[in-house]
């Protein structure tokens, strides 16, 4: 198979390099313009070209969830997304969650519940949890666990991650009923 790879390499060398492309992304509410090669993933665009290194590269194959961000409000794996395909999209990363010095309720709950140890998976866990709550499909701890299964934590902080999400979900329910009460 070494032959096949060297043949592939020669083909690559012969082929003209495709032109870079202009991409505009609304990242955390700010318009960011980029001129990038089509093979730049959204993850690399965020980390390398926009210096937003909060979003982490774990496996780079969509298996660990460390790269989870919200695109147009939905959680996705940014490592399996090409930035050129998201031209014009709204991207929210971990850097865009706090309002000034006030943390997002999920960020605050992760601290209160000690929902991390090394912290490497945490930005992805938090973006994923925000996506999960917005989807409104999880009601029980079993359902939270199932719908968070795309985020791996090798420190094993899972029980505390579930507790943090449950707390915010319960708080949200209370807020909603308070609104109804008014």
């Amino acid at each position: 198979m070494a032959q096949a790879s060297s043949a592939a390499r020669q083909e690559t060398e012969k082929a003209p390099t495709p032109a870079k492309m202009n991409v505009s992304l609304q990242v955390n509410g700010v318009e960011r313009k980029l001129t990038i090669a089509p093979w730049t993933t959204l993850l690399d665009a965020l980390r390398i070209y926009l210096d937003l290194t909060g979003t982490k590269k774990g496996c780079d194959h969509g298996q660990c969830g460390a790269c989870t961000v919200l695109v147009d409000g939905r959680r996705i794996n940014s490592c399996l997304t090409l930035a050129v395909m998201k031209d014009g999209a709204q991207v929210t990363t971990i850097e865009g969650l706090a309002q000034g010095s006030t943390l997002h309720p999920i960020q605050q709950a992760f601290i209160e519940h000690d929902a991390f140890q090394c912290g490497y998976c945490t930005p992805g866990q938090i973006c994923s949890a925000i996506g999960l709550i917005a989807e409104g499909r999880a009601r029980t701890a079993d359902e939270i666990r199932e719908l968070m299964s795309g985020n791996i934590c090798r420190c094993g902080a899972y029980p505390n991650i579930v507790a943090a999400i449950e707390q915010v979900m319960a708080g949200k329910g209370a807020e909603k009923s308070a609104e109804v009460g008014r």
């Binding site: 198979m1 096949a4 083909e11 690559t12 495709p18 050129v84 994923s128 996506g131 989807e135 795309g150």
Partner: protein, 338 residues
């Protein structure tokens, strides 16, 4: 990833003419499998044709009482669609049994059909693989083959099709709509994927100039008596060792019509018309379920590490038929198997 070009398709006709003009190009929608394969240097397209802007993202009722699902509907939207949940809960359950929510948010309906095997030799470009490099040999036969096929294999390939969604679509007898240079055509789901034979590099009967535009579901959804039972090494976010989709039409303890499809055991979702025919008109008893399981698995054979799958499939079929007959489908969140 190697360097590649990138263009957008403006409509279906444009997508077809772009792919017909450049056979080394590939369509991209969700990208969850293709970009991964490109990172591994297994897929080396000259160009990606972005089809995500095509108007193929609707779920509509058809005149005959079925549903037409646009090829670009994300897997998560499909699983959570009220008409799918109400009429085709087997499909919703199978989708939710696969991947993670992030991936389901990205992955398209059409792309799910076209995902490639997760055989690790297929992914490892340092090893022979007839699917990746025709004629180089199969490393899984005689290699590590715990996850591999037990039905419909050939001496050239023992890979499995990885999809959960497709197992349900096979059981529901969906149709695949595709458009190519020759116009639009509709295929039976059973005819879409193929067995490896001596050309394992070809996964489906989709032609090189064709694009999947939609999946059509017939009216019958088996919403009262169904289950999708997925057995895997961990409780979530893993490919099936064996999965079983069942839809039963039962009246007074007698099966009027049975649908049964297996995942994780073959190069395509596995159905057996003889086994289903044997269940039609039979009473819903353990003995009859066992006979059906034995019928389906009559030609099953393992390759060493995956020998256990034959007995696992037998027990899974028995369990799934019982779950469907009782109207107690497997939950994809509460993992206890009842």
């Amino acid at each position: 990833m190697i360097n590649f070009g990138y263009t957008r398709a403006s409509d279906v006709a444009d997508a077809v003419s772009q792919i017909a003009a450049d056979p080394a190009a590939k369509f991209i929608a969700g990208g969850t499998n293709l970009i991964d394969l490109m990172k591994e240097n297994v897929a080396r397209p000259s160009r990606l044709i972005d089809i995500t802007h095509l108007p193929l993202n609707k779920i509509e009722e058809t005149k005959d009482g079925g549903l037409r699902i646009g090829a670009l509907v994300p897997n998560s939207d499909l699983a959570y669609h009220p008409l799918i949940e109400a009429r085709y809960p087997l499909l919703a359950s199978a989708i939710l049994a696969g991947a993670s929510q992030q991936l389901r948010n990205m992955a398209s309906t059409g792309g799910n059909l076209l995902q490639r095997t997760r055989c690790f030799y297929f992914y490892d470009t340092t090893t022979p693989c007839n699917k990746r490099e025709p004629g180089s040999g199969c490393s899984a036969i005689g290699g590590i083959n715990r996850g591999h096929a037990i039905l419909g294999t050939s001496e050239h390939c023992i890979a499995t099709h990885p999809s959960d969604m497709c197992v349900a679509l096979a059981a529901l007898e969906a149709r695949v709509l595709a458009t190519g240079k020759g116009g639009e055509r509709s295929m039976m789901f059973a005819d879409f994927h193929r067995l490896p034979g001596d050309t394992p590099q070809i996964d489906s009967t989709l032609r090189p100039d064709e694009i999947i535009t939609a999946i059509e579901l017939p009216p019958k959804g088996f919403a009262d008596n169904y289950t999708y039972l997925k057995i895997r090494d961990r409780l979530s976010y893993a490919f099936a060792l064996v999965s079983i989709a069942v839809g039963l039409d039962i009246e007074g303890g007698t099966i009027k019509e049975a649908r049964l499809a297996l995942g994780g055991v073959a190069h395509k979702p596995w159905r057996d018309p003889e086994a289903e025919a044997q269940l039609n008109g039979a009473t819903a008893t353990r003995e009859n379920f066992l006979r059906a399981a034995d019928k389906i698995l009559r030609d099953a054979h393992g390759f060493g590490h995956n020998d256990f799958k034959i007995e696992l499939a037998r027990r899974g079929i028995l369990r799934a038929l019982a779950q469907a007959a009782r109207g107690t489908p497997q939950s994809q969140a509460d993992k206890r198997i009842r």
